[in-house]
Symmetry: C2
Subunit: 501 residues, 2 copies
């Protein structure tokens, strides 16, 4: 093997190991760490970040990458070596483009921004967060400019989460969606009472909910020898290796859907991580292709599978066995309708399939406007509420259920939101293709059999890791590229039936 | 402040942060990690170790330490700066004395040794472990020689765990103890039936045991905002900072004493870590003085306090409330005698106060003999059984309950065992001194009040961190230095009364 490539791999492995160590620390922070641990943990994470950055951006790595560009020139671009070099180059260029001062300033502003956001939420007062957000927007602008962009400043940030995706592409797709979803929601709004989800609010003890989520995970193929589930305030998935992927869930005794769908959602993320190509572990090739691809997996499991009638034909009897008092009188149809109830609401993370994307469009537009200087931070709460009224027909009663609800802008996640909607669209495209390849898939799911689906996702998506650019991967899988059509048809058919439209 | 000192501190902080990160990974390994995580976790830990070693042993650190030796020459040796420089120098010298090849070989041999030990235990076959142990003994010999020694090769290894302590000192102390304990055990052996511990074996459900250990921890002053307890196969304590100290316990439904005393033991370790001088955090000064000092704290809480009659006068009613069926007919005297039952047994970690040290003497003698080449590894099982017969009057029925029971020799912990007995002795010396300073301490404990004891331990021992050499610290606290006398008097009085000797 090329000795320069070996040298590169050695450094990449070191960086990967340290990043995974940082991930373990982050997982502990959100699951088990006592409050007293926070102060020192921040130091430990900062030291790890600085080391990772300095190991990865050292001049030797740059030289190696320069030389390797020559070495791999004649290799097929999707060969292992060419792909690793390309991915490392991309990450290296991003890392070195950001001056150390800016990285440091962003890190400090994020940490201050997060604390101010917490405090602003506590006092329901945007003014507490405002100066920190102004600073963060300014730094995000500097960051975008340091990374470089041509058409739109937002492109530079979006590209960090969704390699190759342009703001204009997102806008095109979102505008198609918006034109369909807003009138559909209008029609549903006339018939909101057609669906009743009170069966989910009959009081479900936490311990039995927990046990059901574990049964569910086992039944849909989550291997507890290669991962685990814990509880946390905000559910998340995190991978320490291809054989150790952790998810968390949140339990609400007053609302059964919370734990069930957050568990299925995170399991979808986990399956993607568990399916990464282990032979490339500790290289950037053994990594999901993008955040939209990641979200496509969680949404596919949570919504397309988990909120389908067939799924509950199999699982409702199992759920009823754990909650006989609450569910004895509930049949599949009633349960299916309950878990698919549409309601224009204030909180994105609690939104149904029809309204979810509207929450995203609003954020995508607002963060762009701030970045471009077209919207002042001081005017953000007003702009938020206007758009909520325009898209969803509701006005948040307070900041907590309005502009202060998401953590993203308090940290370093500008440009992240669109990936949620892109993933939602891809989820339906992928599932349609899987059904085209295996027409009895819905019937298998009705029987609680998921092996075919796992195999299809593994072969078509997971095993490629980051070998292909997201757009190329989507093209290979679907034959068409990103297309909102299937998603729109799916939503129309499903909710047309449920609401009799 | 001296800029060189600042530079040293910056490097020490980095090393400390990475070591704590490695500690979090180790904690996770033993508490929550799924089996699939082991392979990648080994890589992550190896990368962290190598980085820590290379950051700490870089030539700049050596130069800094050389210059700082001049800078601190006129400072009092126990001043902050002088102490930090001295401790860093000591660790640096140890680290650089070991050639990288030897460190690497030891690491590999330890990992292979551990696996072979597990396998040997599974098959109850010493031959599986033997070649690995031979290799480890050979490497320990090289390690001792690389570190350097004058009188005894064992000195070099002992000093890693117990700075300043010599093999000859240990032998002197152990020989006094042995001369007293062996005849005492002989006398007790005649009356073994005088104590019945069947009340501890009445079947205690794990959940209630867990809840009692939590109640106990809160009652003796463990702050769950600055730590937590989890379950693990082998109980341990680990500190991620002065404000995040984790302990684990093990529950045996068939034997109530297991969880209770392992919880109190680990709490004693935890109190020491929680009492370290926070103003020196991320330097070697904010660290327990030695392993014997550490063990003195756990043994003081577990045995001197936790197995005292007064302690159970307070806690037995609380325990009985959780286990009314099992404990309704049990009074304090019966419970006190049960938790202090003496029995010559095979397993060190299950041994009572009288026999515990005999298990240590045997290991201390055998590891020395192997290191000096006076005992071949092939002859170890026979030598083990002979000494068991001589000291304890029993012969292990198999290797699992004999020479294969401890993990230490399968890894890099030669020279560690004596610290257990030294800690046991110190525990009694410290408690005697605390009672001399506060004569009503036993009465406070009878009332479940531990503040005075915590304050005394904090002021006299914990807050000093590693500022003094262990021997100096012991001298300052006790006024006499290490002395087996108090321990012997304590054992004679306590067990004389229990067994009517």
């Amino acid at each position: 093997m090329n000795p320069r490539y070996e040298q590169l791999l050695a450094r990449l492995r070191q960086v990967s190991d340290l990043s995974k160590a940082a991930a373990v620390l982050a997982w502990d922070e959100q699951t088990y760490m006592p409050t007293g641990g926070a102060r020192a943990r921040a130091d430990q994470q900062a030291t790890l970040s600085r080391l990772i950055h300095s190991l990865f951006t050292s001049p030797e790595v740059g030289e190696l990458l320069d030389q390797l560009a020559e070495d791999v020139r004649d290799l097929p671009p999707d060969s292992d070596e060419a792909a690793v070099v390309r991915l490392a180059r991309r990450q290296y260029d991003q890392a070195v483009k950001l001056p150390a001062d800016l990285v440091e300033a962003l890190s400090r502003a994020s940490s201050e921004g997060f604390n101010a956001w917490i405090e602003a939420r506590r006092s329901n007062d945007f003014a507490v967060f405002r100066p920190k957000l102004e600073r963060l927007v300014e730094l995000q602008r500097q960051k975008a400019d340091a990374l470089g962009w041509r058409d739109r400043r937002y492109d530079a940030l979006l590209d960090l989460f969704e390699p190759g995706m342009k703001t204009a592409d997102v806008e095109r797709t979102f505008s198609i969606l918006r034109d369909q979803l807003v009138p559909l929601l209008g029609a549903i709004r006339e018939r909101l009472d057609a669906v009743d989800d009170s069966v989910l609010r009959r009081g479900y003890p936490a311990d039995q909910q927990w046990e059901f989520t574990v049964e569910l995970l086992e039944a849909i193929g989550f291997d507890f020898k290669r991962g685990r589930q814990d509880r946390s305030e905000h559910p998340f998935t995190i991978a320490f290796s291809v054989d150790d992927v952790r998810i968390t869930t949140r339990i609400n005794e007053e609302y059964l859907a919370q734990s069930i769908f957050s568990t299925i959602h995170e399991a979808g993320h986990a399956f993607y991580e568990l399916g990464q190509p282990r032979q490339h572990e500790r290289t950037p090739l053994c990594s999901p292709a993008s955040l939209a691809l990641h979200e496509s997996q969680s949404r596919l499991w949570e919504n397309v599978i988990g909120r389908s009638r067939g799924f509950w034909e199999h699982f409702l009897p199992r759920l009823s066995r754990r909650f006989p008092a609450q569910l004895a009188d509930v049949d599949v149809d009633r349960f299916y309708r309950a878990v698919n109830r549409v309601e224009p609401s204030f909180i994105r993370t609690e939104a149904d399939e029809v309204t979810y994307n509207l929450h995203i469009f609003l954020r995508f537009e607002l963060e762009q406007a701030m970045l471009d200087g077209d919207l002042q931070v001081a005017d953000l709460p007003g702009a938020w509420n206007e758009k909520m009224q325009a898209y969803l027909g509701v006005t948040p009663p307070d900041m907590l259920r309005g502009v202060l609800q998401d953590v993203h802008w308090s940290g370093d996640s500008f440009g992240y939101f669109p990936t949620y909607s892109l993933g939602t669209i891809l989820a339906v495209q992928f599932y349609e293709k899987a059904v085209a390849d295996h027409p009895d898939l819905p019937e298998q799911i009705r029987r609680g059999q998921f092996e075919t689906l796992h195999r299809w996702l593994g072969e078509n998506i997971h095993r490629h890791g980051a070998r292909y650019e997201p757009a190329e991967l989507v093209q290979r899988v679907t034959g068409t590229g990103l297309d909102a059509g299937p998603y729109i048809r799916y939503i129309r058919a499903k909710y047309g039936e449920i609401y009799g439209i």
